[in-house]
């Protein structure tokens, strides 16, 4: 554990040396380390992590819609087989004008991720060479994964729905209301 700690410190030192404005977040007791950086620095930082520091495996990349703050958060998770540490690189892009730089020359599979974000979130990647459609086909309307797109309402007005049975009423309210109540004996066996 202590060894992992100094590994993290070392990584933070090296990153701060070349990216002074990277904000680190080192409050996890497992092998995880976070950095928050401006979106224009992300390609160079990922390249630095991959080429210089041995984080050669892109584990995951994700996009989160923070509707209230009017921003998209892009997360890149890289993994170093040597240090056995995951590094999360967070960045924020403006929600109204989400533009990011294409990075699939660093990891070719980023091309797939960027296609997905472009289609489902509307995040534009400058210089991305790929067919327009990835998952959806002839999609009209806003990018569906944005939080302001209501999928239930869309499905309600677009598709046929078979009317449900009368005796199938919604019991979620009842379940939500019962809290800390005594569990009957027959149920104790399975749901303790």
């Amino acid at each position: 554990m202590s060894m992992m700690k100094e590994l993290k410190e070392n990584i933070i030192k090296r990153i701060k040396a070349s990216f002074p404005d990277a904000v680190e977040k080192n409050d996890f007791n497992y092998n995880r380390l976070d950095f928050i950086i401006d979106k224009n620095k992300v390609p160079s930082m990922l390249l630095y992590l991959k080429e210089e520091m041995g984080f050669i495996h892109l584990s995951h990349a994700s996009c989160v819609d923070w509707l209230e703050e009017g921003e998209f958060e892009l997360v890149f998770i890289v993994w170093s087989p040597v240090d056995k540490i995951k590094v999360f690189v967070h960045t924020r892009v403006d929600r109204d004008n989400p533009v990011m730089e294409n990075m699939d020359m660093i990891w070719p599979q980023l091309n797939t991720y960027e296609r997905e974000f472009r289609e489902l979130y509307g995040v534009q990647f400058t210089g991305l060479v790929a067919p327009d459609e990835f998952i959806l086909e002839d999609w009209q309307g806003p990018p569906p994964y944005r939080r302001d797109f209501d999928t239930a309402a869309y499905a309600e007005k677009t598709f046929w729905h078979r009317p449900g049975r009368e005796d199938a009423q919604d019991v979620r309210e009842t379940i939500a209301s019962r809290d800390g109540e005594e569990i009957p004996d027959f149920a104790k066996k399975y749901s303790r």
């Binding site: 959806l136 086909e137 002839d138 999928t151 499905a155 598709f159 046929w160 729905h161 078979r162 449900g164």
Partner: protein, 181 residues
């Protein structure tokens, strides 16, 4: 000497018997239901003893097995595949999500009620239906064929405008991709 009507009736009976005992299912796993098709076809639940076997292309298939939910993108292909098949042809809706959307009731990309877009002869409910359920569904289809009640294809021909309207309602671009299979 029997007259034409009776002979036609006899021929129908023989034909229905043959169709009942030789059901070729198109090999098109449209959804996650395709995972229970291999166990159904392989040992323990051996569907071939009922005459059920896979067909490679739509031209040779009798049954279109919709294994699960259909996304809009897949529905387009499925309609094309269904119209490539030769009469008599049957459709089996496989899984709850073909009946009422199942757990995808609020998904923006899957259709909820299959029989608004394709004529379904037999529904198999459950998610995932067990191989026994699949076999019983095939048996049900055999029963309907033997009784001459599996007339989904004719219904589709007769109410083509209605089906087309429903299909075009959710498929904005009706131009098929330039497939040539």
């Amino acid at each position: 000497m029997i007259n034409d009507k009776n002979s036609q009736k006899i021929v129908d009976i023989i034909q229905n018997w043959a169709r009942k005992h030789s059901i070729w299912v198109l090999a098109y796993g449209t959804g996650c239901g395709a995972i229970e098709i291999p166990p159904t076809m392989t040992s323990r639940y051996d569907a071939e003893r009922l005459g059920v076997r896979g067909a490679a292309t739509p031209r040779q298939a009798d049954v279109l097995l919709i294994t699960g939910y259909l996304t809009v993108k897949t529905l387009k292909r499925v309609i094309r595949v269904y119209e490539q098949m030769q009469d008599p042809k049957y459709v089996i809706g496989f899984g709850s999500c073909t009946i009422n959307g199942g757990m995808y009731y609020d998904s923006y990309n899957t259709i909820k009620v299959l029989d608004k877009y394709l004529p379904v002869d037999v529904y198999i409910n459950g998610c995932m239906p067990r191989p026994e359920a699949v076999l019983s569904g095939f048996a049900q289809l055999q029963k309907r064929i033997a009784e001459g009640r599996a007339t989904g294809a004719r219904h589709y021909k007769e109410n083509l405008e209605w089906y087309r309207a429903n299909q075009k309602k959710i498929i904005p671009n009706w131009i098929m991709p330039e497939y040539n299979w």
